[in-house]
């Protein structure tokens, strides 16, 4: 993943709390087995409403979504983050995010910037006032700057670390394989273990066992 040092662009205000991932990426698109092509399905239902902010041409091309508290709640579907990213967002700014959504953002390289509710409202107002004005989130200084003001945003330290250095968590953990192997040697005997070759009823392939 590429390091993310800053994000700059125009804002789109989404004035609503508790936006859940069922809204961001409705279930009918979770059957797709690809990792790309989700952008067009973002907020699929809400976009049927001509008044919905995603249909407002003033905000087309926005790169920063300024949302309400508890954004990304509910289902763990990472497809929600992929969709937002592939639609064109590099960051979501909100007073709070769900835990899993925050983690998913970090993995995808989207910045889940936490700001106090007042600051969030100021940003939304600024976007409404002047949709062409931009905002910058600097991950080095943790400052948010826009036409008419500036403030501080918060990122979980570890999320920031992942984004700033473009860390690949799988590679990072694979670097510790010897420690993991050592840990494994001392595990108790009662841990779950299901070997396909010896357990009846657990099958691989299409002919999964049908007899108890």
């Amino acid at each position: 993943m590429e390091p993310v040092l800053w994000v700059r662009g125009r804002m789109m205000p989404l004035v609503r709390d508790d936006v859940d991932t069922d809204q961001i990426m409705p279930k009918q698109f979770l059957s797709r087995v690809e990792r790309d092509g989700f952008g067009e399905f973002v907020f699929h239902e809400w976009r049927r409403d001509p008044e919905f902010v995603f249909n407002d041409p003033r905000f087309s091309g926005a790169r920063i979504l300024v949302a309400g508290s508890n954004f990304g709640s509910g289902s763990s579907r990472e497809h929600a983050v992929w969709g937002l990213q592939q639609y064109g967002f590099d960051a979501v700014v909100a007073p709070s995010f769900s835990d899993i959504f925050t983690g998913n953002c970090a993995q995808a390289g989207v910045v889940p910037a936490v700001v106090p509710p007042e600051l969030c409202r100021s940003l939304q107002a600024a976007a409404e006032r002047d949709p062409d004005s931009g905002v910058e989130l600097d991950l080095t200084t943790m400052r948010v700057m826009w036409t008419g003001g500036s403030g501080t945003f918060h990122l979980d330290d570890q999320v920031r670390e992942v984004l700033l250095h473009g860390l690949d968590d799988v590679a990072l953990v694979l670097g510790q394989l010897d420690v993991i192997t050592q840990y494994e040697r001392a595990r108790p005997a009662w841990m779950p273990h299901l070997d396909v070759s010896v357990v009846p009823g657990a099958a691989v392939g299409p002919d999964a066992g049908t007899t108890p």
Binding site: Q23, S76, I180, E184, W190, P192, D195, V204, P206
Partner: protein, 460 residues
């Protein structure tokens, strides 16, 4: 100072610290068909699944619940299921897929097989993974990238969680179920109110719950925003695990029993936050809005926007739900009833509903379905004759899966339909675009099915 149960489990599974994050070993990784991209990631890296014997797959989210002898009608679902089969075959991962006698919702299958057990860590690409904490496990819901991480390394990089105790004293009144307790806890904590916390459920009312009731309670930790929910293992837990198919046996069981009995929060452990409630005061509960925290007792009314802390949001919710506020809950007429989901599809849930239904008929115009959580649940229910009770009442008796909880398969509600559902989420469009979900217990859902509107199950 003492430690909480979650902290102890965390420490027992701590492999390393990497750049500020804790690396936890994952003892059981449950997989379903919605994370093919994670296997795709492994393939790109040229990596195997590190511990196929600690990885168990099933098919639940996207499977048909009707006739399974015919080929799948949805080509995307068929391709997704097929890809899971191929990925499991390639990597030697045991799969309880369609046709297997253990297929079921991943959060039903884990506990039911005994693969989920006290003292372990569980990960699954699903936010309701907290369910497994009911047995005294530390269980994490994760996204697809982290599924790839666990497949590749059998470990998970995580941030420490704060500790929240939910103390439930007293006893649940007759007719009040674990689901009502869960809905009440979510209302108290708020939707997302436990974000960043591990929630330990404690107190006399929790200890009095069966394992199935505990699974229902821990399941809805996700609705409060908690990634982890758990209950200390006790005699009830051990008796449940012992008779499971894949439970440890002989010497391993004796060792396990010794280790598991030590799994409890120390008397002098400090929680970051404690929330207390009395079980005696809980009533059968119904959600009225579009978050699981928007609920009232069945005897109550839908709140008006000005009575809600966030008036705008309440107004949006009421608008979506086709309500204005002020309606009596018992006056809400229903089009559909769904009994199922990882919250309420186990044998005790079905017994509870069948008990209400016995000898009664589903009200005219109401479509009602039961979707057992797994093949073993379905078989057991049939052995007990519950399927007949449901069928005679006018319910459809279907094959196991997630079904109408999220409406990924063909089980989708229609626009404007009002549904009494035993699932966990009443989000807009969750059960179908424009469909209106009210979350209730299985007993309340059954009572609503026969009367055609909500009713206090204690009065039926």
């Amino acid at each position: 100072m003492g430690k909480t149960l979650a902290q102890k489990l965390w420490e027992q599974h701590l492999v390393d610290r990497i750049r500020g994050r804790d690396l936890l070993y994952i003892d059981l990784h449950l997989v379903h068909e919605l994370s093919p991209q994670a296997f795709g990631g492994l393939d790109i890296r040229g990596l195997p699944v590190r511990r196929p014997a600690a990885t168990v797959a099933t098919m639940d989210h996207n499977v048909p619940t009707g006739d399974r002898s015919a080929p799948l009608r949805d080509p995307l679902a068929a391709a997704q299921l097929d890809l899971l089969r191929r990925n499991c075959a390639t990597h030697g991962v045991p799969l309880f897929g369609l046709g297997s006698h253990r297929q079921g919702i991943v959060h039903v299958l884990g506990p039911e097989t005994g693969l989920t057990r006290p003292g372990i860590t569980v990960a699954c690409g699903d936010s309701h993974t907290a369910t497994h904490g009911a047995l005294g496990a530390l269980a994490f819901g994760i996204g697809t990238s982290q599924v790839e991480q666990v497949l590749a390394t059998q470990c998970l990089l995580v941030n420490p969680l704060r500790q929240l105790a939910v103390e439930v004293d007293g006893a649940l009144p007759v007719g009040v179920t674990p689901k009502d307790l869960a809905l009440t806890v979510v209302r108290l904590l708020g939707f997302g109110g436990a974000t960043g916390y591990a929630v330990e459920y404690r107190g006399a009312a929790v200890r009095a719950l069966s394992v199935e009731g505990r699974l229902t309670l821990c399941n809805m930790s996700a609705e409060a925003g908690a990634r982890v929910g758990l209950i200390a293992p006790d005699d009830t837990t051990l008796a449940y695990v012992r008779e499971r198919r894949f439970a440890p046996i002989d010497e391993a069981w004796r060792e396990a029993e010794r280790d598991w009995r030590a799994l409890r929060t120390d008397g002098d452990a400090a929680f970051d936050r404690v929330v207390s409630l009395r079980a005696d005061e809980i009533e059968p509960t119904v959600t009225w809005g579009t978050t699981p925290a928007m609920s009232v007792p069945v005897g109550g009314r839908v709140p008006k926007p000005e009575e809600s802390p966030n008036g705008n949001q309440a107004e949006q919710a009421l608008d979506y739900m086709g309500l204005v506020g002020g309606e009596r809950i018992v006056d809400l007429r229903l089009d559909r009833v769904f009994i199922g989901s990882c919250t309420n599809s186990r044998i005790e849930d079905l017994r509870m509903a069948a008990n209400v239904l016995d000898g009664r008929k589903v009200a005219h115009g109401v479509k009602a379905m039961v979707v057992p959580g797994s093949v073993p649940v379905k078989i057991q229910a049939e052995q007990e004759g519950l399927d007949e009770v449901f069928r005679r009442a006018g319910f459809e008796w279907r094959e196991p899966g997630c079904s109408l909880c999220l409406g990924m398969n063909e089980d989708v509600a229609e626009r404007g339909e009002r549904i009494a559902s035993t699932s966990n989420r009443n989000f807009e469009g969750r059960q179908g675009a424009g469909a209106r979900t009210h979350l209730v217990s299985p007993a309340m859902a059954a009572a609503a099915a026969v009367t055609g509107h909500f009713v206090d199950v204690r009065e039926v």
